[in-house]
């Protein structure tokens, strides 16, 4: 590390006796109403060549999805996308899929951006020719500053802001789309509560995704983070110290939910263990509790 010491020494020598320049506070942008935020979001993203729709009911979202499916034979789907919003296409790896479906962790109106997390995988966000991104309206922010604050606690190796289809004007100043990343970006803003949609009660696995990124508490008050959800497991990370990672199988949660609907007493983790066995029951119980099953 000799280079390190030499560079730091030269910096200190250069700055010796120089006063510290003041650090200004970060300018806050104007606050936008929900309607204004969506309008600006749509204006910016459309200008960048993306397709944006505000979807007021599950039926509309399914219609939008159907349009995005047109012409595609296979799809890559993010584990963060809930069942009703998953395409009815055979799944394929990102290298081959003709449609990719993501769920944004946030959206920004002033720049027309969706914020994507590496938790769902990065290849699917980049290699597909058409990229459909679902964004909950509650996750749409007016300014970059608000969105940055909201995603600060995301536990991910990389976040990315996508603000339109891939483009380049490097060939004779002529704009070309889909140079390396997706040539089409579709954004569906979900302006309805997913669990209240449709006539049938939603499947448990379709509601689990709402918990991603949230901190829950076990019955004994121990906080933990819901890190990731896919079709198989819910991954949680305990707080405090180094924190350990545990996986709660989705089928186990479904068995428990079924027992709860049948009227079994699941008033705490110990009752849960008795009824359906112990698969990280303390956390499983907290998850079921957060979703209103117990």
């Amino acid at each position: 590390m000799k280079a390190r010491e030499r560079i730091l020494a030269r910096v200190r020598r250069a700055l010796a006796g120089r006063p510290e320049a003041a650090l200004p506070s970060v300018p806050e942008g104007a606050a936008l109403s929900k309607e204004e935020a969506f309008e600006l979001f749509k204006t910016r993203l459309s200008a960048a060549g993306a397709r944006v729709e505000r979807l007021k009911a599950l039926e509309e979202a399914r219609g939008f999805l159907k349009e995005a499916e047109a012409g595609a034979r296979t799809a890559w789907v993010s584990p963060l996308v809930p069942g009703p919003l998953r395409p009815r296409l055979p799944e394929a790896p990102p290298e081959e899929a003709e449609l990719g479906v993501s769920r944004a962790v946030a959206g920004v109106a002033e720049t027309g951006s969706v914020v994507l997390s590496s938790r769902e995988g990065r290849r699917g966000q980049l290699l597909v020719p058409r990229h459909l991104v679902w964004l909950l309206e509650d996750d749409l922010y007016g300014t970059v500053l608000e969105a940055l604050r909201a995603v600060r606690s995301e536990n991910a190796a990389a976040l990315a802001l996508h603000s339109g289809p891939s483009k380049s004007a490097d060939i004779g100043q002529i704009m070309v789309k889909g140079v390396h990343g997706p040539g089409e970006l579709w954004v569906g803003v979900l302006a309805f509560r997913l669990e209240a949609a449709g006539d049938e009660p939603p499947e448990l696995r379709d509601t689990l995704f709402q918990l991603v990124g949230r901190t829950l508490k076990t019955k004994r008050g121990e906080p933990f983070l819901v890190e990731m959800v896919n079709d198989r497991v819910v991954r949680v990370r305990t707080r405090g110290g180094a924190g350990k990672t545990l996986e709660v199988p989705v089928p186990y949660l479904e068995r428990a939910a079924q027992r709860a609907r049948e009227g079994a007493d699941l008033s705490g983790p110990s009752r849960l263990r008795k009824e359906v066995g112990d698969r990280a029951a303390a956390y499983a119980w907290a998850i079921l509790h957060a979703l209103g099953y117990v």
Partner: protein, 463 residues
């Protein structure tokens, strides 16, 4: 060729390849028009003040921020290195290449890696390396250096690119831009999927969070930093920002200054290698902090402000001198106004001579600079230094001395200006070597019919 060759190289280019001037001017004016519109949509003056002050603050406590950034990066599983110059950078990269068994590398556009000669080094190590930014890919095929910070291939016409792609990728002679781009996409997609190593620069690095920030429009940087199992980022030590929230202004300011967009189409915020449970991403991430002349620039109290630069290229687009030739004749990685003041700060005034003379001091660069670098003042500073350090040519010295004599003596000045008005032919006389050199590529000088001091007498009382 070195910066010293600028006068000869720029002249040769203008004479031999006038089409370059046309391509560069068209592209630069297009960028500049979009920037002007984009500046008008936001509280631009407040943002520029914020950005200039924030950068100035970081520079004034750079040691502290470097240590903070390093600590945060290490906590997130990043391996941090320091490189004083190209030799260190090559050694560090060479070790990574050997340890990881790298055979194929993809490169995401980065001016710093141009400074460090990373491509040539990798080739010498037997590593196949591909530029993945479309503009950089074009000039890699043409075996040329970039001619603009943001648009490296703006000097190339569609016809030239068609011929280049026909030769290397087998596209038809009359291929449309979309076909050319699709051919490049297919060719590079294969390499992205096979590459062991992705190399990037860094637009910003946030000290408090250890976030590496990369901005682009094509998606090639995201691919280069997501697909290969190893990612190495070369970051100039001046790229630090104190707070994560500072990005809210810098991301927008950079894009608006560079191309007039509200934000780059793809912004990566990277905090370490792939985490447990994530489906993909690199297993190893190395950040190399690079000095390469930056501490020397920092030590110069008047010139250090050049380190605020965020490499947007706005000053190039605004510059009437740059627009005539593009970046190649400058003989330095950075060209145009910012290159003219970065070169002496990083290399020293002697090595950079006479780049800081390639300006009319019109001030257009300072008017557009998002971080308010006073480029014309810096140009004067370096000219002054050059004169003090005896770098001027003998005829320049005597010319300047004569001019100074005339300027401090009103009678001598009046006499000289009267002489020019009486014998205007002197300024057009092809027999005078100085006049001949001037008029070879420029319109002749025309003395004003009446001197300014006479006009002034008439207008000064008019209010």
């Amino acid at each position: 060729m070195p910066p010293r060759a600028y006068p000869k190289e720029s002249q040769a280019l203008l004479e031999a390849r006038p089409e370059v001037r046309e391509s560069v001017t068209k592209a630069a004016l297009h960028f500049d028009k979009n920037r002007a519109r984009a500046y008008g949509e936001v509280p631009i003056e407040a943002w520029r003040d914020f950005a200039a002050q924030t950068k100035e603050h970081v520079l004034s406590r750079l040691d502290r921020y470097l240590e903070e950034a390093e600590a945060r990066l290490v906590e997130k599983g990043v391996t941090v290195h320091y490189a004083e110059g190209p030799e260190d950078a090559h050694r560090i990269l060479g070790e990574i290449v050997r340890k990881e068994g790298v055979r194929l590398a993809v490169r995401a556009k980065s001016m710093l890696t141009e400074e460090l000669g990373i491509n040539a080094f990798l080739a010498s190590q037997g590593v196949e390396v591909w530029e993945t930014d479309l503009g950089e890919f074009i000039i890699q095929l043409a075996e040329e250096p970039p001619s603009h910070i943001v648009g490296p291939a703006i000097h190339k016409s569609l016809e030239e690119i068609r011929a280049l792609f026909a030769e290397h990728l087998g596209t038809p002679e009359d291929a449309a831009p979309e076909e050319l781009a699709a051919a490049a996409r297919r060719f590079l997609r294969e390499r992205f999927l096979k590459a062991d190593l992705g190399i990037s620069g860094g637009n910003f690095l946030v000290a408090e969070s250890g976030t590496l920030v990369l901005v682009e429009n094509e998606g090639n940087i995201r691919l280069s930093t997501s697909l290969p199992r190893v990612h190495v980022a070369f970051v100039g030590i001046e790229k630090l920002l104190p707070r994560f929230e500072d990005l809210s202004v810098f991301l927008q300011l950079l894009a608006r200054a560079a191309t007039g967009q509200p934000i780059g189409t793809f912004v990566s915020l990277i905090e370490g290698p792939r985490r447990p449970g994530e489906p993909d991403g690199p297993e190893a991430l190395h950040v190399v902090f690079v000095d390469n002349g930056r501490t020397a620039a920092l030590a110069d109290e008047r010139a250090h402000v050049v380190l605020r630069c965020i490499r947007c290229g706005a000053c190039l687009n605004a510059c009437p001198v740059y627009r005539q030739t593009g970046g190649h004749p400058f003989g330095f990685v950075y060209s145009g106004p910012i290159g003219e003041v970065l070169a002496p700060a990083l290399l020293g005034p002697k090595e950079a001579y006479p780049l800081y003379h390639a300006s009319t001091l019109c001030g257009a660069c300072a008017e557009v600079c998002p971080v308010r670098i006073p480029i014309p003042k810096l140009l004067l500073y370096w000219r002054e230094r050059a004169a003090r350090e005896g770098l001027l040519l003998p005829f320049e010295k005597s010319l300047v001395r004569a001019y100074a004599e005339a300027m401090v003596r009103p009678s001598a000045y009046r006499l000289a200006s009267k002489a020019m008005r009486l014998f205007p032919g002197v300024l057009k006389s092809e027999t005078l070597p100085l006049v001949r050199a001037w008029t070879r590529l420029r319109a002749g000088l025309e003395p004003s019919p009446r001197p300014f001091h006479e006009l002034w007498e008439e207008i000064k009382d008019e209010g």
